[in-house]
């Protein structure tokens, strides 16, 4: 297997546009109460969402594609993708509903009728249009695990020789259908999300996009590209149990973590940092905590976790890539950002959520993403020599 490294990062979320805004926000553990959606027609009990400040494309066409292009172009510039033969560059983007918002605006006469798909999934194509003729532009869903799968599939494309560089990630933009469906399924909370808190009340969705540039270590070295971290492995699994609820046994999420570590040539004793899926729903968090407790035993009380969704919300299709960016930056800077304090830790979730900055010196970081449809993925990241 080739060594795959991350050489570029791009992000858009409620903390602002750009990786610096993202990193500064998480380093400050800058939480906020959710926004009320700027959509008068969303007649739902909890019309709450974390919007991207200053550029929420609520009244424009294709907000998911716009966010994708913003994050993707930042990642491409950061990774100097422009110096790579575009024929050897591919794009993979995951999302839950793509540009569903565009269709809703079209129904209201505020945007042209959409073509190609309903919901439209042209995020990867939109970014590829900025690159030019290239090695592929694939838009996938896999719901809240979408960007994790996009990243893992991108690594496989490189391994298979289909591309030398892949810009992979995911995106979510506000859509009425998503907020309505989540309301109907009872998954949303009325206040900012508090994963692993005894009083957690549910998810708050968030807008945004993230992108990472992947390439082999040899390719990066040959062109003098800086590597933030190594994508050392991924583990894929599917609960095949329930359309929306996690399998309480946690069997398949444990398998995803195990396979990611095995592919990384590591074991549970090597894990130094985890970005859990941790959405803030009762069942999701307790299931994940139990699986991690089973996987790591007493060490779970010592492994620092980062509660990213407590800060930026749940970016659904973009969740995995935001966790990946966080882990890559943690290795790059040698420190894990602080967590917002819990009101009351849930004794059924015996996890370690340090509220101060934690040094990170080696080991393996796991980034977990789980989704409707039973889709699970764990990514294993490692630091790179300076």
């Amino acid at each position: 297997m080739s060594e795959i490294v991350i050489t570029g990062l791009g992000a858009v979320c409620r903390l602002g546009t750009g990786v610096d805004a993202f990193w500064n926000g998480v380093m400050a553990a800058r939480t906020a109460e959710p926004d009320r959606v700027p959509d008068e027609r969303a007649e739902v009990p909890l019309p709450l969402y974390y919007m991207v400040p200053g550029r929420s494309a609520v009244h424009a066409g294709g907000p998911a594609s716009e966010f994708t292009v913003a994050a993707g172009e930042e990642a491409a510039a950061d990774g100097r993708v422009g110096e790579v033969d575009p024929y050897r560059v591919a794009v993979l983007m995951g999302s839950s509903v793509g540009d569903a918002r565009q269709t809703e605006l079209a129904r209201a006469g505020e945007a042209p009728a959409v073509t190609g798909g309903s919901p439209p999934f042209s995020m990867a194509s939109a970014l590829a249009a900025r690159i030019g003729p290239c090695a592929g532009a694939v838009s996938l869903s896999n719901a809240c695990s979408g960007s994790g799968y996009a990243i893992a599939m991108g690594a496989e494309m490189i391994e298979a020789g289909e591309a030398d560089v892949v810009i992979a990630g995911g995106v979510e933009a506000y859509s009425r259908v998503t907020i309505a469906a989540f309301n109907r399924m009872g998954a949303l909370g009325p206040e900012r999300p508090r994963p692993f808190d005894k009083g957690r009340q549910g998810v708050v969705l968030g807008e945004g996009a993230g992108a990472v540039v992947l390439e082999s270590a040899a390719h990066a070295a040959a062109r003098g590209a800086r590597a933030y971290a190594r994508l050392a492995g991924s583990g894929w699994s599917c609960d095949a149990a329930h359309p929306t609820a996690p399998d309480p046994s946690g069997t398949q999420i444990k398998r995803a973590m195990r396979d990611a570590l095995t592919q990384a040539g590591a074991g549970p004793e090597d894990v130094s940092f985890i970005v859990p899926h941790a959405t803030g729903t009762t069942l999701n968090d307790s299931t994940e905590a139990a699986a991690m407790a089973d996987a790591f035993g007493d060490r779970l009380a010592e492994i620092p976790l980062h509660n990213l969704k407590a800060i930026i919300g749940h970016l659904a299709g973009g969740a995995g890539v935001m966790g990946t960016i966080l882990a890559a930056l943690a290795f790059h800077h040698g420190e894990i950002p602080p967590n917002p304090p819990l009101r009351e830790p849930d004794p059924e979730c015996p996890v370690h959520l340090p509220t101060g900055i934690t040094p990170l010196d080696g080991g393996v970081a796991l980034v977990n993403s789980y989704a409707f449809g039973g889709n699970n993925i764990s990514l294993a990241l490692q630091g790179v020599a300076a």
């Binding site: 297997m1 129904r107 249009a129 599917c238 095949a240 195990r258 089973d294 449809g373």
Partner: protein, 349 residues
């Protein structure tokens, strides 16, 4: 010893123990199609052709039609597959499905209910299917496909991309058995927010892929092989003066990835939507591609693959979407693919 240490040897269908983690497991030639299932209307645009209760039984009424079709097509494929699913451990079974409009109706209905003050009336059983990956996810539940589940939705090319991504994951050892295909249903005709390219598609095609060695070990039958590649020629680049040259070079690279030194003299089909992208591909094919009119979704190209598996000679299926995505599938029907392991190149990990 913790729960992350897997001490249980993995069974694998008819082969040595399967790899626990990705590694180059088999050449593309080692994965063969063992069954095809189709659930398609008797004629384009037919109404009332699918009786979900008769086809599937109770408990499926609230699912999107595309999901019902896929479940039905898969049952038909499994009935013809000769036992590969049952002999494969649940964690080594996988699914990859393409769809462009499988969630269209639920989106339209949820939006109408929400803007009409009736969000509380949305069926809890139907609501999850706003997420289009549930089409594959429901199939995973039905048949305990725990290896992985993928939903791919790129306009026009999502079906072939799903096949390609699923096969690639199998070659990296993530599973040993794959159900890949596409499913579509017509979007609501009264939803004025949608402007379809081409005729609405309706139905599903399901292809079962397994390692040739496993099929041979149980005395099973191969229908042939499918390999694929993708690339992207953005519309602006396609329409530029050098668009055809880009198309020619990208196509040549895709063909090389499919072990083809050049475009075959015959057996080439180009699924075209009449866009500048498709036109550039047509010119790159230098008149050797038989044009096939694209439908509005991503089912047509997979249907072409299924048809090609029943043909006498190999075929190359090229599909180009107006947003620039292109997928190329090389289909070699049996007996063009010997099942003998002696005919398969050996690759190291």
């Amino acid at each position: 010893m913790t729960g992350l240490h897997d001490t249980t040897p993995r069974a694998s269908a008819g082969t040595t123990a399967g790899p626990a983690v990705p590694t180059i497991a088999a050449s593309a030639r080692d994965l063969v199609v063992t069954a095809i299932g189709t659930t398609l209307p008797p004629a384009p645009g037919a109404d009332g052709w699918f009786d979900q209760r008769a086809e599937l039984g109770r408990g499926y009424k609230k699912l999107p039609a595309a999901c019902q079709y896929l479940l039905s097509a898969t049952r038909r494929a499994l009935a013809a597959a000769g036992g590969g699913l049952e002999s494969t451990p649940e964690e080594r079974r996988a699914v990859a499905v393409g769809s462009n409009h499988g969630a269209a109706r639920i989106h339209t209905e949820v939006d109408a209910a929400t803007t009409g003050g009736e969000a509380h009336l949305i069926s809890p059983a139907a609501a999850p299917y706003f997420s289009p990956n549930l089409i594959a996810g429901r199939l995973a539940i039905e048949h305990a496909l725990k290896g992985f589940s993928l939903g791919v939705h790129t306009p026009g090319t999502g079906g072939l991309e799903a096949v390609h991504a699923g096969l690639r994951a199998l070659r990296f050892g993530r599973a040993d058995w794959l159900l890949a295909g596409a499913a579509e249903e017509p979007p609501p005709a009264d939803d004025k927010a949608l402007a379809l390219d081409g005729t609405p598609e309706d139905g599903a095609v399901a292809l079962v892929f397994e390692p040739a060695s496993a099929v041979a070990a149980r005395g099973g039958r191969s229908l042939g092989t499918v390999t694929a590649r993708v690339f992207c020629l953005p519309p602006a680049a396609a329409a530029a003066e050098d668009g055809p040259e880009h198309a020619r070079r990208l196509l040549a690279a895709a063909l090389a990835g499919l072990d083809l030194p050049r475009l075959p003299a015959d057996g080439v089909r180009l699924i075209t939507d009449g866009s500048p992208v498709a036109d550039a591909l047509a010119r790159a094919c230098e008149g050797r591609a038989e044009p096939v009119t694209a439908g509005s979704g991503c089912l047509g190209p997979v249907r072409q693959v299924a048809d090609a598996l029943g043909a006498a000679e190999p075929r190359l299926i090229i599909t180009a979407g107006r947003a620039g995505t292109v997928a190329v599938a090389r289909v070699r029907p049996a007996p063009h693919i010997p099942l003998s392991p002696m005919d398969s190149p050996t690759e190291g990990s």
